[in-house]
């Protein structure tokens, strides 16, 4: 077994967990009840996906340790008895150990910014899971095939909202322009493979054209401009994050850090 597969699985899990956590902050604060329910439903789907990937990563890590008789190759939270579990991986790794892309850790901002972040990410996840469900790793394929059904909803819902806000009022249009300005610079990283992605045989750069096509299509309908080439921030996939992730993890991990091994 290659250790890159562990890192790759963690990357998929971290992506889903971090954006699930951010979306969950809307619980009780959505603009109207139905949309509050929608964004938290999406959060729940993503949390479920992250659990599946963490469970698989934990199995891989524990097998790897058994085979090698050593510590896991990548720093990974260790639960009771030194075994990795889905919880230890989510709650006990530090910011530098998280491999999520920068896009998912960007602040919720206003509703427009949350919508745009979800749209960019869902469009990416849709294309990625479509590829992964036919990939060579059976478990990743099974998780992706199942998740793809859910992401189809997320993409349709967030696309509709981008159109509604972009082609809405002058105020909502301005806010979407501001959201594009905030988030666009984090989209380049999605299509630059980290070493573990290359070694796992998943070339994300191949998804870029289809993603651009989807974004262009929706932006046109939303009367929003597709930005020209701008500088793209990278680093998240290798653990170099924006300042936001630290705050997210502080809240997410608080209970396990303060009361180790607490359960309920």
């Amino acid at each position: 077994m290659k250790s890159s597969l562990i890192d790759y699985t963690l990357h998929l899990a971290d992506n889903a967990l971090v954006i699930a956590q951010c979306n969950a902050e809307w619980c009780g604060h959505g603009p109207i009840l139905e949309q509050d329910i929608a964004i938290t439903n999406i959060s729940l789907d993503l949390l479920g996906q992250s659990r599946n990937f963490y469970q698989y990563a934990a199995t891989l890590i524990n097998e790897f340790k058994k085979l090698q008789g050593t510590k896991a190759p990548s720093p990974a939270g260790e639960g009771v008895g030194g075994e990795a579990t889905e919880d230890s991986l989510a709650y006990l790794r530090t910011e530098r150990e998280f491999k999520n892309c920068l896009l998912v850790e960007q602040p919720n901002g206003d509703w427009g910014q949350t919508i745009l972040r979800q749209f960019f990410f869902s469009a990416y996840q849709y294309l990625l899971y479509e590829k992964l469900q036919a990939g060579k790793d059976e478990q990743i394929a099974a998780i992706s095939a199942k998740a793809l059904k859910e992401v189809t909803y997320h993409l349709r819902w967030s696309s509709e909202w981008v159109v509604r806000l972009g082609d809405g009022t002058e105020e909502s249009h301005q806010r979407m322009l501001k959201a594009i300005d905030e988030l666009w610079r984090y989209t380049g990283e999605l299509f630059i493979s980290a070493d573990y992605e290359k070694e796992s045989g998943y070339d994300v750069s191949l998804l870029k054209d289809a993603w651009m096509k989807k974004v262009t299509e929706v932006f046109e309908e939303a009367t929003l401009p597709v930005p020209e080439k701008v500088f793209m921030q990278t680093g998240g996939k290798n653990g170099i994050h924006t300042e936001h992730l630290g705050f997210i993890l502080t809240e997410l991990q608080y209970l396990q850090r303060t009361y180790p091994n607490a359960t309920w």
């Binding site: 789907d45 659990r51 859910e150």
Partner: protein
């Protein structure tokens, strides 16, 4: 053994979904298989059974409870050597929902999955007055598996169990 397997299925047919209590887990197609297990010291020397289940939605919080309820139902009926395995592939689909399940849903006031509506759109039949003059309020409802509708004729809001 065949008789035993039949009994196990009968017990499973009594276990209900915690979120939609009119449906049983067999109505939903959550139970994929039941396999006999060899007797093991861990299972008290009794021959055991492995129950293979699959989640509806990835994040469905009812799954842990369903697994526990299956175990409890079987223990109550004298089966102690039970293993519950959750599989993801093939992914669960509403195609596996039984006709009885669809009927029970409607009686309960939830519109059953309709293959003509793979995407939730206006026009799902109202489970209360049977009108198709209905409108989609939101693709996301009270649980992951449902969408929110309102009937334009009887004005009642209702849930639609989405095709998945």
């Amino acid at each position: 053994m065949k008789i035993e397997l039949k009994n196990i299925w009968k017990i499973l047919e009594q276990v209900t979904d915690p979120e939609v209590p009119v449906l049983t887990i067999t109505d939903l197609g959550i139970v994929r298989d039941v396999c006999p297990l060899p007797a093991s010291p861990k299972g008290g020397g009794e021959p055991g059974f492995e129950i293979i289940i699959t989640p509806t939605y990835t994040g469905c919080p009812a799954m842990d409870m369903i697994a526990m309820n299956i175990k409890l139902a079987l223990i109550e009926n004298g089966y102690s050597n039970i293993k519950i395995t959750s599989v993801l592939s093939p992914a669960w689909t509403t195609d596996w929902m039984s006709e009885a399940g669809k009927r029970k849903l409607k009686e309960y006031g939830i519109a059953a999955p309709n293959k003509k509506f793979t995407i939730a759109l206006d026009g799902i039949e109202c489970p209360l007055c049977n009108s198709t003059n209905t409108k989609l309020i939101s693709e996301f409802g009270s649980t992951a598996c449902k969408a929110l509708y309102q009937c334009n004729d009887c004005k009642e809001p209702f849930d639609y169990f989405k095709c998945h």
